[in-house]
Symmetry: C2
Subunit: 576 residues, 2 copies
């Protein structure tokens, strides 16, 4: 799958290429988007045995008239945490393929934080045999920090076992930049292991001599760029940039002015984290292409970035262009403006038509180890904290932001005990360890959700994916956490003694095995329930899931306690 | 050498990159040619342990002021038959490195036709440890045809032994296009062996469905393009084009109009066959850059084509650009117009300055098997042919052309024996088998040299490199051949009983182990001697060496006889 093997019966392929016998399939009368020349070309495209055998005038056993339509190479996603879509690979393929995506490079670090190598191998298995090629990068930072409890730790020796997997391309986003530039052996052991493979970077804002040092091990790509100045420096230092347009981080409009005739070959697109509703609503890379062209990027450059450039960034040979001997992954667009997809061919076979797969995605049977939920029933008494100070640290949550604020406010208390305070929009926040049965619970306060009652909980809680819960009373929080526990992972909104809505995510507590439409409906019910308990955030679960991530400023909560991210150390909840 | 290994002491590298300790070397105050951005950038370039550790402001143990000069990546030759320069790899490095070339990809098929794998391994050994990285492609067509006797035959099983050589990159120019498109197993076995490696094409004039078929096995590059239309089609079908500007074939001016903003990434330069006098006089890729810019190609594109694009074509990582973590191969140009080279740094060390190597090239000791000269003393009586027909086929040689004409003329005879005829400029032509002691001699006539006396002989005789000789009498031809034989390979010009000039090429009969200046002087003496015997050709030995190549139209002579190349079959010398 990473490469093309010559078929043993090449005689028949050659005769088809030479027009001496009919091809399997001919797409006739379309305009071929030629990413080598930058021109569209009126030509029949002939396919046999999954390969393009020729462009020109051809006859085939099957001939499809694509007059007036554009044939482009299948789109390639360069960096995706597929767990963010909350569905299994087969369901994801059912969404992405009809949007024109025929290959993606995933960083499975969410599931790896829960299940380690077993989780990665589960995704490899679950994504095999689909009409979408799933490639993976070996996660470099599991756990993300030692300020939290993850389900697994992956050292270089663990990652070594992945080198032989044909769909493991390289090393995923190297977030630990201090580890890189300070020469930390645990980090450099991983870098050395992947020295001859693609290594993805992750260095928001890094510049100057520290950026130079970060690049020494051969880190080759970067998708965290947010400003033009940062993009210019990173391009100049040899990084290939993946312009990110996800659900949360949307850098496309800001970064498009970077692209010019000389450097466009060094740029591609990624979505990084893309939520189910956005995938179903806006789309995937088709949406990125539409938006890029609307913002002035020439369509030919946009398509080249999403295809050939992406393939080159990962050394994927004979993929990302339409040429003889190349893989027959073809998207039929209605125009190079709307990027509406009429049909998609994967390895030469019709895979999607007018928005739907034409082949059923195989349903997976989740193994019994897939959702560890090693957490005891919560002890209410132990969680009922005395108000041990006059003031308290509060995480300031802002809508659609992963960065939080860090405030110190007067402690909300009743009878000497810490409580939520609806008047000041202060909710209690818990992070409950779920991997190792430690019974560790981190406690804090969060402002900004707008709750007037109830609680919500989630087993999606970056990056260790413990259970994070916020709410107005301890009882409601406990009910929400218990609901997630009983679902073996998932999302829940409760009010009083009632579960208003819930969604099971039994695949590692991160994904559902259910059809995408069901999952989307469940998410809609959850969001309605959140509104019912007063929540004002547009993406409350997304917001909640990032409150536990101690690598993003400024104040975060893990199962081990409150983390002042600026200082990268634990701080006490109560002040004085 | 094909890749960069992380040094075990990366701590010191990192500190140098971060400016916390001095680099080994800093090139200060120059303008860096940034092939990623397409801009020149005022920056110090810091080097340590052979790698670039940073661009910016740096201090070093050694600091060189390069104010007002341009720092570019070392130039990369994409396709070269290095034997054509007639000198050993060390001497070649002494010419190319001061011209800015720091890596080359050679097709060693000349020596392979003489010595097979032993010859290739000799070049690998002789090119190791030089301040120029010699990469090789495994020759795909040894022998070129079965119409001649070569010193070796290389089948897929032989080439398999080369796969483990780190400096063997892929499969060299696949000249047997009928074999490819007809699915010939002997050819496809080789293609399959190199299916995951770069494969160079060689398909002059091939187009349409046959070109499509030729590309199916993954043939990825092409350097035989001579016209714009051919170049456009080949680019569109996914071939990377190496624009050739050699001694003989000079396609640069014709093909430059191909290059545009979108496709320039798919183009590089090669010289293919470059003679010693041209290398010493005009230069190598520096000459190509000068000429390209003079013909209107923007300098930034030209440099990018000669560096980053060439590296990408062969998957050479971290080479072809100046960036942190990339190989410190740096050319210091005086301008991006003259491309005069001031200094060259190879792996971070000064390697050449103002036209000369700063490190001595190691002298090689040729092994005793290096020049097989398995040829008996010629039997004059057997060579004295009866004039067995009234008319005779004549090879028409034209100056500076490898293509010959095919005439049928009245037989020049004396006493019933075939002779040369100075009045009609008809010389006798012999090809003497020298590899297997078969005593086979092919006989013919050639018109166009202009001899009035004497003979010349050469053990450089494409592609099998038997001994080819032309002259006005059998005795003089025999003396010339014997001279070459006694030299264990080489070139000779004789008149009467006197050897006017000769040059020993004891490395396979193709190259001299002597200093390049000596070889150049020897060649000058040979050319003067050729003039002395009346030769009017500007490049008589080049012309002579191609008279034995039965893959180039139209009439050629091998040790097995006259070949009508249009029909690809032997024909009789005498007609009727």
């Amino acid at each position: 799958m990473t490469d093309i093997n010559l078929p043993s019966d090449h005689g028949s392929l050659l005769r088809a290429a030479r027009g001496l016998e009919p091809a399997d399939l001919v797409l006739k009368g379309g305009l071929v988007v030629n990413v080598f020349t930058g021109e569209t070309e009126a030509a029949d495209l002939a396919v046999k045995d999954g390969l393009i055998v020729g462009l020109g005038r051809y006859d085939g056993l099957t001939v499809r008239d694509v007059s007036g339509l554009y044939l482009a190479p299948g789109l390639i996603e360069t960096h995706l945490h597929l767990e963010s879509a909350l569905v299994a690979p087969g369901e994801l393929a059912g969404i992405l393929v009809p949007r024109g995506t025929t290959a993606l490079v995933a960083d499975p670090h969410e599931i790896a934080n829960v299940l380690g190598l077993r989780g990665i191998r589960f995704l490899l298995d679950a994504s095999a045999g689909l009409p979408l090629d799933f490639f993976f990068m070996a996660p470099s930072c599991v756990p993300a920090t030692h300020l939290e409890t993850s389900g697994a730790e992956l050292e270089a020796e663990d990652l070594r076992t992945l080198l032989a997997e044909p769909r493991i391309l390289g090393l995923a986003e190297v977030m630990n930049f201090p580890g890189v530039i300070n020469g930390l052996p645990r980090v450099w052991d991983k870098l050395a292991l992947f020295a001859r493979r693609p290594i993805d970077g992750h260095s928001p804002g890094l510049n100057g001599p520290d950026l130079n040092a970060y690049l020494l091990p051969g880190i080759a790509t970067e998708h965290e760029t947010t400003t033009l100045a940062e993009g210019r420096e990173k391009l100049a230092r040899g990084l290939r940039l993946f312009i990110r347009e996800g659900s949360q981080a949307r850098n496309l409009a800001d970064l498009l002015p970077l692209v010019n005739d000389h450097n466009y070959r060094r740029l591609s697109f990624c979505t990084d984290d893309r939520h189910l509703d956005d995938l179903l609503g806006e789309g995937h890379l088709d949406h990125v292409l539409r938006k890029a062209v609307r913002h002035g990027l020439p369509a030919m450059k946009a398509v080249t970035m999403a295809t050939l450039n992406a393939a080159e960034a990962f050394g994927l040979r004979r993929r990302g262009a339409l040429a003889p001997g190349w893989r027959a992954d073809v998207v039929v667009f209605e125009s190079l403006e709307s990027f509406q997809v009429r049909e998609v061919y994967k390895d030469g076979r019709l895979a999607a038509r007018r928005g739907a797969l034409t082949v059923p995605a195989p349903r997976i049977e989740p193994p019994d180890w897939i959702s560890p939920m090693n957490v005891a029933v919560l002890d209410r008494a132990a969680l009922d904290l005395p108000a041990a100070g006059a003031r308290v640290r509060v995480i300031e949550a802002a809508d659609a932001q992963v960065v939080t604020g860090h405030s110190i406010l007067e402690t909300p208390a009743r009878n000497g005990r810490l409580v939520a305070d609806p008047d000041r929009d202060l909710a209690r926040l818990l992070v409950v360890e779920r991997h190792r049965g430690t019974a560790r619970v981190g406690q804090g306060l969060v402002r900004g959700f707008g709750f007037n009652q109830g609680a919500m909980a989630s087993s999606v809680a970056h990056d260790s994916h413990n259970i994070v819960a916020a709410g107005m009373s301890l009882d409601e929080i406990i009910l929400a956490v218990d609901t997630v526990r009983r679902l073996r992972g998932g999302l829940a909104v409760v009010a009083g003694e009632r579960v208003l809505a819930s969604l099971a995510l039994p695949l590692a507590g991160l994904m559902s095995p259910a059809p995408a439409a069901e999952v989307a409906a469940g998410l809609a019910r959850l969001e309605a329930a959140a509104v019912e308990i007063g929540c004002r955030l547009k993406a409350p679960f997304m917001c909640l899931s990032f409150l536990a991530l101690p690598v993003i400023p400024r104040l975060k909560l893990t199962d081990r306690g409150l983390v002042d991210v600026d200082k990268f150390e634990f701080v006490r909840l109560f002040v004085e």
